[in-house]
Every structure is written in structure tokens, then in C-alpha cells.
Amino acid sequence: MLNVENLTLHYGQSQILHGITLNAPVGEVTAVMGTNGVGKTSLLKAISGRHPYTDGTLAVGDQQLNHPSAFTAARAGIAYVPQGREIFPLMSVQENLETAFACLPKDERFIPEEIFQLFPVLLDMKARRGGDLSGGQQQQLAIARALITRPKVLLLDEPTEGIQPNVIQQIGRTISLLREQGNMAIVLVEQNFDFAYGLADHFVVMTRGEVKRRADKADITPEAMLEELAL
Amino acid sequence: MKFNKSLSASIFAGLLASTSMVAAQDCAEPIKVGVLHSLSGSMAISETTLKDAMLMLVEQQNAAGGLLGCEIEAVVVDPASDWPLFAEKARELLTVSEVDVIFGNWTSVSRKSVLPVIEELNGLLFYPVQYEGEESSRNVFYTGAAPNQQAIPATDYFLEELGVEKFALLGTDYVYPRTTNNILEAYLIDNGIAEEDIFVNYTPFGHSDWATIVADVVALGEDGKQVGVISTINGDANIGFYKELAAAGVSADDIPVVAFSVGEEELSGLDTSNLVGHLAAWNYFQSAESDANTDFIAAWKAFAGEDRVTNDPMEAHYIGFNMWVNAVEAAGTTDVDAVRDAMYGQEFPNLTGGTAVMLPNHHLAKPVLIGEIQADGQFDIISQTSEVPGDAWTDFLPESAVLKSDWQELGCGMYNVETESCVQLTSNY
């Protein structure tokens, strides 16, 4: 579903990504792994249009996206759950969810039942301000918000960062549910090794802006994977 | 600059010589009349009209054969409502364009800016607007009203005819209202009005929030005395003032308002149906009935447009310009000193009937008119005095009462009659 070829990206004069190629098939989870500062977040920013990439191609299905701006990327079906959640702090949970309607035609602008089934806590918190939620709740809100756009590609950046274990489990269950539904390609950037390894179908290991290793889950043991990620 | 000017002048002269035989032989150059009125900035509202009036007068004079057999050329400059620029442009007119006379200025501050320049260069200025007096310059002829030709008669009307016992003096905070109100306060106290029965208020230029002030004025009536308002409010601020007055239901029968700065032009900015009966005092109203006025209005509308109105400063320019033309003809030259001498005693018919006379103190003797506002934005003249001689130094302030201006006999604009000496030959700025 998501096809990224030879993507390069600069911050000012310094090159952050050196020709990344990434293919995320629909209905599967592709995990991008690597220690801090290897360019994982930059990669997601480039795909979601939040930071312009320098060179390379980006496509969602058959649709070529030529250096999309963030909102064209979103409307093309790339939903982005950023690191740090980026909830709108002064808006209620309901309003946060409704921001996603911008991607939808008028007659589809409703919050599907399913969302509250996935994240029942949001139903209780509907009227609360986004900024007042706990980190875990915010994370769920961020994912729910992304799902309402009916995405073809879901980009998740460190969804477990700073979140208590039970919520992590819940998020994990949600992701596998989404994978099973098979409506979207999921790209997961994660430092939590166990979490990532548990969910992913494919791995892309990055180091210093380059792809160091790519592998399907079947082809690599956790130990080998850890070896790749060694500190 | 000068080089350019003389070059173009000689080209112009050459053109004249080759293409036109209109000018008499001794007219190498046309007689130049400087027009020093703001065409941009805040004062353009009032002054543009005067520039147009001057152009019309010059055109009429040229059509009537020019002056001393020469064409008259109007040199128009724009001091842009910027007071220092008035001095600069006046200097330019006198030294670069070498005009023979200047007609110009509206605000007092612009006149004060120009005074040192024309006194230094011995120019001649005709100033057409009603002003606060307390000034006399050898180089200025004041064709507008001095306080005793507008403020004092209007106050007399209030005292005599309307029986006003308590006065609200409302003004914009600048020199004309300040000085006029000082004079009026002294005058009212002389006429037996107690000091506590005089309420004074100053507001900024363009003030729009009048509710409180109007309420204060209405409250003045609480001791049962007849209240009257003397307004020296300037320009746009009047619109808000009259709107608030109308809204508060203050009719001219309850609290009459007489204004010194509201003319036909100012009234065109608002609906006057609620203001009928309020007053203004001037030396001229468009509604004055005389043949000269009918002709003047017709000529003006033909020149400037059907919807244009005439007003007092225009009449002042009309009289001033014609007097100057006659004085030049009497002197046979445009030389400033000769023209000045010829100016004294010049007579010219007013547009309102009667005759204006130029006095040795450089002011005119003119009748004072009081008009009531009508629903159509014109004034109904209900009182007209005989000619009142303009007085440069008011008799109602102790410092000024001892001063006298007489350039013809005494050769001094600021002559102290007590010490019998001339305080100064230049004017005070």
C-alpha cells in the first residue's frame, strides 16, 4: 500500500535520511526499528508531509504523492500519530476526534461506533479537554483520531512512549485488531522492542539515516534482531 | 532648482512671445498668485475648496482682462496639512516661484508657521478664515473674522435675544477655541455672568464620544437658568456632537447651540433634520440674498460642480482677492509695500450686501450674520448686524486691551497705548 523509494531528507545542510526505501503492505504491520536519532521520526514526518523530503518517491497504492503537504497527505489516506501525541490541548475529546472530519466528504462525517468500542475510555471522557487526559488516554485519542480519517496507511510513532503497561497492552491489541481487519497498512516506529517484535510482520532496521537491515518476522529471531539493534 | 526655474521661465516667456499677443508688452512674466492650501492630509477637507475658489477667481480675473494688462497665474502648492511644510512651501513660493501675493492657510498653527517666513521675505498673505485674533502682522491681511466679528456678536445674541444665563463653552483643544473661550469668559463676566455659570470643556480633534459631555450640558439647567452652548468644536468632531445632541433630544428651544466652526460644508456630513434651529455665526452664509451672491454661487457651481456649497472663508477670499486686484491697479505695481499702502481703505461689496472696508489694522469691517440650521443643511439668516470693524487685539483681556494695531499711521501692529510705544514690529508667533 505504502511505497517509499530512495527517500532523502535534509535538515538545513545536514542530511538526515540517505535513500530510504520502505514498502508497507496492506493488512500488515511494518516496524521501523533503530536507536535514538537514526532518523525514524524524520522518515515518518517525510511520509506524512510534515517535513519536505529532498528526493525520492512516495506513493499510496497507485496514487503517486509528489512532495505532499501535510493535509494532502492526510487526504490521500496517510494518517499520522506523532510522537508525543500532539493532542489539541484546549479542545474536548469529541472536538479532537472531529478534527479528522476534514478528510471526509460531508455525508461521512460521523464518529463510527467502532471507535468507542476500540477505546471505551474516550466515550467517558468525551467532554473533557484533550490536555487534561493522561498520557495513555491521549495516545488512545491520537490513534482514534487518526482512524476516523479512514486511512489507507497508519503511521504510528512511538505509541508506547511514557505510557503505563496496561494501556500499552491495550494499544497492542488495537493494532493487531486493525491488522486483522486488513483495511490499512500500518507503519510502526517503536523503541519498545518486545512491543514492536510482538506486533510486526516486517522489520526495517535503521542506522544513521540508512536502512541497515530489512527482514520479515519469519526470517529473524528476536535474538538476531537484538543483535542488530545492539547498543 | 533656481536654474531650472529660470530656464523654464524663459521658455515660457518665449512661447508667450511667439504664440500669444494677449499679454501686454511689459509682461515678460505673468503676475503670480501663490495658493497655499493643504490639498492632502486632515485639513484638505476644508482647504481644497479654497484652492478651487482661488482658481476660479483667477480665471474670472483673467477673463476680465487680467491685471495691469498681464495674465495672472496661480501657483498652487500642497503643504499637506503638515505645519512645518507650510513654512517651507511659503519660502518656496516667495523665493523660487517669486509670487507677488499668497492666498492661503486655514489653521492658526499653519499661519504661525508661515509668519516668520513672510515677514523675513516681506511677502503678502491673505488669510481667509475666522481666527482668535491676538496677532497683527505687517505682511498679513486678515479677511476672516476676528473674535469681535463673530464670537462677541453671537454671545450678545445669546444674552440679548435668547436670554441665556448659563454658558457651556465647548471646544476642540487648540488655540482658536482656547483663546476665543478666554475672551468670551472675560466678556461674559463683564456682562454679569457668574464664573460658576460658565462651563468649559475641551476635547481632542476628531472626538466622537460625546454622550457624557452632552449629559453634563443638560445637567447645567438644574438651577433653572437658561443654558446655551457656544461651540468652537472643529471639523469632524461636530458630526458626533450633533448626532449625540439630536439623540439626547436637546432642541434649540431648550438649549441653543451656536457654532463658530460649522458651515455649509460641515453640515453636509450629517442629517440636519434633528438640528433645526441650532445656530452658527459667520460673516457669510450661502443663503444670503443679494445679486452678487447669486452670481457668485452660480459661477462656483459652474466651476466646481452642482453639488458644491459656498461658505464664509470663500467669501473672504473673494473679497481679499478683489481688494488686492484693486490695490495693485491703484498702485500700478505688484510691489508689496506699494500694494500694502494701497490696500488701506479699499472697499469692496460683500456678498451679503453692504461694503467691506480694509482697516489700517489689516482687518476688514464686515457684517456679522447669525443663521439657524435648516433641514436642508443651509442656514436661515435671522440676524445681521451692520459692518463691525475687526479688532486684532481684543478689548476683553487685560493684556490685549492696551494694545492697538495700526500699520498705516503708527506703523506698528502691537502698539501699547498706555506706554505709547511699539512693543514689536514683527508679530508674535
Binding site: 508531509g49 510534515r50 501535510a70 493535509f71 492526510a74 506523532p82 500532539e86 489539541f88 490541548p89 484546549l90 479542545m91 478534527t99 479528522a100 472530519f101 476534514a102 471526509l104 483520531r145 480519517t149 | 486632515s42 477637507i45 481644497t48 445674541y157 440679548e160 435675544e161 435668547l162 483643544d173 475641551y202 476635547t203 481632542p204 476628531g206 472626538h207 466622537s208 464620544d209 454622550a211 457624557t212 459631555i213 449629559a215 453634563d216 443638560v218 439647567g221 438644574e222 438651577d223 433653572g224 437658568k225 469632524d236 458630526i239 458626533g240 448626532k243 449625540e244 439623540a247 439626547a248 433630544g249 434649540a252 428651544d253 431648550d254 456630513g269 442629517d271 434651529g277 436661515d380 435671522i382
Partner: protein, 644 residues
């Protein structure tokens, strides 16, 4: 004049018999006074007319008051109507209509003072008139010039009055007249006491008139007069003023002022000296006084009255004020009533001041609310905001040119002004501001450029003269609670408009899709874009909204004040201060800022009512200090603009 006299003689000769009955003949001896009446002198004519008993007198007086009476070249008076160059003349006696060319006729224009006197004379004819308007006019005339003689007819007319409002008014007036003029002191006291709850200016006038005093002095305080209070020189009046009173009564010698001394010295110079002081040394006050003392000693000039002399003279006398009204009971009653009224008036004045402040606050709010969106929410410094206000006002003016009905024109002008300024705002955002989002200071410069260009453009199109923008008749006048507390309808309308806008904007921001997207973009533009919101479009619409509101504010401001090309400049600095003081990024903040500024300004004005300019100066100084100590404003909130 001689010609008039001859004519008069002719007239008299022709109809000697009708002389007594005809108004025209009655008027002719007074012709000059009728043609040019004066307030003080017109009384004799009116007395003659009133006592003549001629039935046409009332009509004539009304027409005269109405400036509808003309004098023919022969000196005869007609009621006339202008019809082109002709006059339709109505004979004042017979009512016969004729037509004559208007040449030579002069219209009689009695001035306001005379018209008022005529009105008083008309009272007796109009008070019982079947026409309600005339009765109302008569009552108004009484109110303007209350006289003792009017009390009886007024009381007589009350019972027959059918109109309840007018009847109440008549009773009120009768009460005023009784308080001043009733014969029995008890009647007067009763009337006076009933006024103690009436805060109207008229009631206070009645009471104050009863309590008028005059100053007096005597060696001993007299017991046979109604003394209002004793005046202590130095406390209640200045010592010099008290001494002046003595001088005026020839009870003391006048004081010698500096000019008199100087003049005396100048006329007594002998051999270059005055006394033993050389003229050259007379440049100090001390030396002058020494020289004068020597002159006084030699008897050349009257002696100097020193401060000690003055005080000694004053000590011999008592100064006091006497009521014009001799009856103590009446003045006491009036004093009590007035004290009660004045308490109520003070309360009323505070309320009125608060209303004025509220009104001013709503005007500031209206002027600033568009800016609260463009500057407060988006962080764009739009110096042309004032010009958008101006554009709105001119839109209102142009609409009135085409649509004569003021009501309809305002209804059309409001949305049209919004549309015009919305379009202007969007155009400006697209063409200029979009490129400058990261350079806020330069937005200031660029929009300032647009501001002066728009201002000059308006001058070129509409001229420099102020243009009329007239409110519909139902907004004329004021809501009058009483004579102290009142506020004009147009200000109420502006207040209502401000409230509507407050809620409208809150509604748009909180309850609409646009508002949701605006808030999302404001709080986190990047994330908003990632949710599929086009920030460019939102910025454009938000800016358009802010500008559009400025346009509507312009119509409102134009209605209550003026429409000129420079009107926007009057509001721009204050609008920015309103937003900054209130706290950027919050509509409630703007409300708080406008209220603070409005109430502050009225408060300072109240402290110094004669100088409005000073109030504005101190208000701004206060704001400068306020921002120093609370840089984020009253309602501080984080927003995109708050970041820099």
C-alpha cells in the same frame, strides 16, 4: 419709513370703522417691531394682541412663530406660502387667498428668543385647544418659561384633559408652578415636599430657584432676614474678594495694585529720583514700595492698603448669604427636598456614567473584535484593520446613496459591509500576509503600507469631506430612564451589536466546523494539517472573518460618529491596546480589555470633566504600565501569537 407712514394713513383713512376689529390695523402701529422683533421688546405687541380679543390672533401668532408671515412692500402682513417665484398670500383677517410675485415681500424671521415669548403668549389660546399637538406645545411653553400667571389656567385645564400622558405632564407642571408661585405657604410647602423624589432637571430648577441667595454684609448678623449661611472670609471666600465687597460698598479704601504704584512712581519723578530712590533702582518691588511709601508719607499719593489694613477692615464686618425667599419654612422645605433629590441624582449620575462607560467599552470592543481574531488568534499584525472599519462605513454610505429608506439600507449595508471587507481581507491574506507569517514585524510594515494606500484611495474616491451615514428613525433619540440616566438608542444598538458579535464569534469558534478547524490550526497548525485541515484555507477564512467583522463595526461606528477616510486611524492603536491588555488569543480577553479601557477612560474623565484629552493620555499611560506588569494581558492564554 415715511412711505410706510403714508400708507398707514391711507389705510386708516379707508376703513376707520373696522379699525378696532381688524388685526392688520392693530399690527400696523407696531409694524417695525413685528418685522424685526426683539425678545425684550416684543412683549408690548403681544400684550396688545392678547388683550384685543380678535379671534385671528392665535393663528397669526402661530404662523408668525413658524416664520410663515411675510410683509408686503407696502408694509402689510400676510400669511404666505412660497410657490416658485410667487407667494400665495392669505389675508390675516379675512383668510382670503391671493397670489403675488414675491419681489419686495420680506419673510419675517423671529429669532428663537422671540419665538419662545410668542409661545408663552400662545399658551392661553392653546391650553384648551382641541388639537393635542397644540396643547402639548402650550405645555412645553409653560415648562420653558414658567410664570405665576400660568398657574390658574393650567390648573383649570387639568380636569378637562383627555390625553393621559399630557394630563400627567400638566399635573407635574402645576406642581412646579405651585411650588414657586402658590399663594398659600402651606400649598407651596406641600408642592415642594412632593418634589423630593423628582430628579428631573425641571424639578431641581424649581427647588434651586427657591433657594437662590445673594451675598450681603453687615456689622452685626441681622435677625429680620432669611439668612442662608454665614461666610467666613479666608474659608468660604478669599480675603481679597471679601475686601472687594467692602470697597464696592464704599466701606473701605481700594487697594493699590502694582500698576497703580508704577504709574504713581512714573508721574512723580523729580530729578531722576522718586523720593530718595534713583529711577534706575526702581527695578525691584522692594525699592518701588519704599519709594511709594515716601510719596504717601508726603501726601502725594493715597497710602498703601497693606494686608494688615485689609484684615483689620474685614474683622469689623460679618459676611453672609440671604435667601431671596423670605419665608424660612419654605426655604427649609426646599433645602430638605433638594438634599433628597441630590442624593438620588448622585446615584443616577453614577449609573449614567456606568452606562456611558459600557457604551464606550462596547464601541472599543466592536472596533477591536475583528483584530482579536486576526491578531489575537492568528497573530497577524494588521495595521490596515482601521481601514477595513472605514471600508465598512463607506459601504454603508454608498448603500444609502442607492436605497433611500434608512431602515432597508442599514439592513442591506450590514451584510454587504461584511462581504466587502471579507473579500478585501481574503485578498490581502492571499496576496501579502501569507508570505509573511514567519515575519510578524514585517507584516506590520506591509499592512501599514496597505493602510495608507487604502486611506488615500478612499480620499480619491469619496473626497476628504465627511460623508453622512444616517441611522433609521427608530434609532433616533434616547432611552430615557429619567433626566439623569439616559442613553441614546444608537448606543444601545451598538451595545447590542457588540453582544451579538461576542456570542456570534463564540458560536462560530465553539460550535461550527470552521471554528473547530480554526482552533485546531491555532493550537497546532502542523497536527491540524495532518488531520487533513488545509491551514492556508483556514487562515484565509479566519482573516476574512476578522476583516468582515471590522466592516460591520465600521457601519455601526459610522452611524454614531462620522464617516471619513481617516476614521480608521482613530481606532487602530486603541484596538491593538484593547487586544493586548485583554490578553491575546481570547475573545473574552478582548471583552475584558475593552471594558477596562472604557470604564477607565470614563472614570478619568469624571475626575477632570473639562479635559477629555487628558483622560485619554492618562488612560494610555496606565495601559503602558499595565502591560509592563502583566505582559500577557488580563486573560492570559497560550496561543500561537503568545509564543513570540
Amino acid at each position: 419709513m415715511p412711505r410706510v407712514l403714508i400708507l398707514l394713513a391711507l389705510l386708516l383713512g379707508f376703513s376707520p370703522a373696522a379699525q378696532a376689529q381688524e388685526l392688520q390695523t392693530l399690527l400696523q402701529p407696531h409694524a417695525q417691531e413685528v418685522a424685526k422683533p426683539g425678545r425684550r421688546t416684543v412683549g408690548t405687541v403681544l400684550d396688545d394682541l392678547a388683550s384685543s380679543g380678535i379671534p385671528q390672533v392665535a393663528t397669526f401668532l402661530e404662523e408668525w412663530q413658524d416664520k410663515s408671515v411675510w410683509q408686503s412692500p407696502e408694509g402689510l402682513f400676510f400669511i404666505a406660502d412660497e410657490d416658485g417665484d410667487n407667494l400665495i398670500l392669505t389675508d390675516i383677517d379675512s383668510g382670503v387667498e391671493t397670489t403675488a410675485p414675491s419681489d419686495g415681500f420680506t419673510q419675517l424671521k423671529p429669532n428663537g428668543g422671540v419665538r419662545r415669548v410668542i409661545g408663552t403668549a400662545l399658551v392661553q389660546f392653546q391650553l384648551m385647544d382641541p388639537d393635542l399637538n397644540r396643547r402639548t406645545t402650550a405645555v412645553a411653553s409653560i415648562a420653558r418659561r414658567p410664570e405665576a400667571s400660568q398657574l390658574a389656567p393650567l390648573l383649570g385645564s387639568i380636569d378637562g384633559e383627555e390625553d393621559p400622558t399630557l394630563k400627567a405632564r400638566k399635573i407635574q407642571l402645576a406642581n412646579f408652578l405651585s411650588a414657586s408661585f402658590a399663594e398659600e405657604p402651606t400649598d407651596r410647602i406641600a408642592a415642594i415636599s412632593s418634589l423630593s423624589t423628582d430628579v428631573s432637571v425641571e424639578a431641581r430648577a424649581v427647588l434651586n430657584q427657591i433657594l437662590t441667595t445673594r451675598p450681603a454684609l453687615a456689622e452685626e448678623l441681622p435677625t429680620d432676614v432669611n439668612v442662608a449661611r454665614v461666610l467666613n472670609p479666608g474659608e468660604d471666600m478669599s480675603l481679597d474678594a471679601a475686601y472687594e465687597l467692602l470697597v464696592a460698598d464704599d466701606l473701605a479704601a481700594p487697594r493699590t495694585d502694582a500698576d497703580t504704584i508704577k504709574a504713581a512712581l512714573a508721574s512723580n519723578i523729580i530729578n531722576g529720583r522718586v523720593g530718595d530712590v534713583p529711577v534706575a533702582q526702581l527695578g525691584t518691588t522692594a525699592n518701588r514700595n519704599r519709594a511709594y511709601a515716601q510719596l504717601a508719607h508726603s501726601g502725594t499719593v493715597p497710602p498703601l492698603v497693606t494686608d494688615t489694613d485689609r484684615d483689620a477692615a474685614l474683622a469689623k464686618f460679618t459676611f453672609f448669604e440671604i435667601y431671596d425667599e423670605a419665608d424660612t419654612a419654605i426655604t427649609d422645605a426646599a433645602t430638605t427636598a433638594l438634599a433628597s433629590v441630590e442624593t438620588r441624582v448622585a446615584v443616577g449620575q453614577s449609573a449614567d456614567l456606568a452606562l456611558d462607560a459600557l457604551s464606550l467599552a462596547s464601541i472599543y470592543f466592536l472596533a477591536a473584535i475583528g483584530l482579536a481574531i486576526t491578531f489575537g488568534v492568528m497573530g497577524v499584525i494588521n495595521m490596515a484593520h482601521g481601514e477595513f472599519i472605514m471600508m465598512g462605513a463607506y459601504t454603508g454610505y454608498v448603500v444609502q446613496l442607492f436605497i433611500p429608506s434608512y431602515t432597508a439600507s442599514i439592513i442591506i449595508a450590514l451584510p454587504l459591509a461584511f462581504a466587502v471587507t471579507f473579500a478585501a481581507g481574503v485578498a490581502m491574506e492571499r496576496l501579502v500576509i501569507r508570505h509573511l507569517y514567519h515575519r510578524p514585524l514585517e507584516t506590520l510594515l506591509a499592512t501599514f503600507g496597505i493602510s495608507i494606500a487604502l486611506q488615500q484611495l478612499a480620499k480619491n474616491i469619496f473626497g476628504t469631506q465627511a460623508r453622512p451615514l444616517t441611522s433609521p428613525a427608530w434609532l433616533d433619540g434616547a432611552w430615557v430612564f429619567n433626566d439623569v440616566v439616559q442613553i441614546s438608542y444608537i448606543r444601545i444598538a451598538i451595545f447590542v451589536l457588540a453582544v451579538i458579535f461576542l456570542f456570534l464569534i463564540l458560536f462560530v469558534l465553539k460550535r461550527t466546523r470552521l471554528g473547530l478547524e480554526v482552533r485546531a490550526v491555532t493550537q497546532n497548525p502542523g497536527m491540524a494539517a495532518s488531520m487533513g485541515i488545509n491551514p492556508d484555507r483556514i487562515n484565509m477564512l479566519t482573516f476574512g472573518l476578522g476583516s468582515g467583522i471590522a466592516g460591520i463595526a465600521g457601519v455601526a461606528i459610522g452611524l454614531y460618529a462620522k464617516v471619513t477616510s481617516e476614521m480608521g486611524a482613530d481606532y487602530i492603536v486603541q484596538s491593538f491596546m484593547t487586544v493586548v491588555v485583554g490578553g491575546v488569543g481570547n475573545v473574552w480577553g478582548t471583552l475584558a480589555g475593552a471594558s477596562l479601557i472604557g470604564f477607565l477612560q470614563k472614570g478619568i474623565e469624571w475626575l477632570n470633566p473639562s479635559n477629555t484629552l487628558a483622560a485619554q493620555t492618562y488612560m494610555i499611560l496606565f495601559i503602558i504600565l499595565f502591560i509592563q506588569f502583566r505582559p500577557k494581558g488580563i486573560v492570559a492564554l497560550k496561543g500561537r501569537a503568545a509564543a513570540d
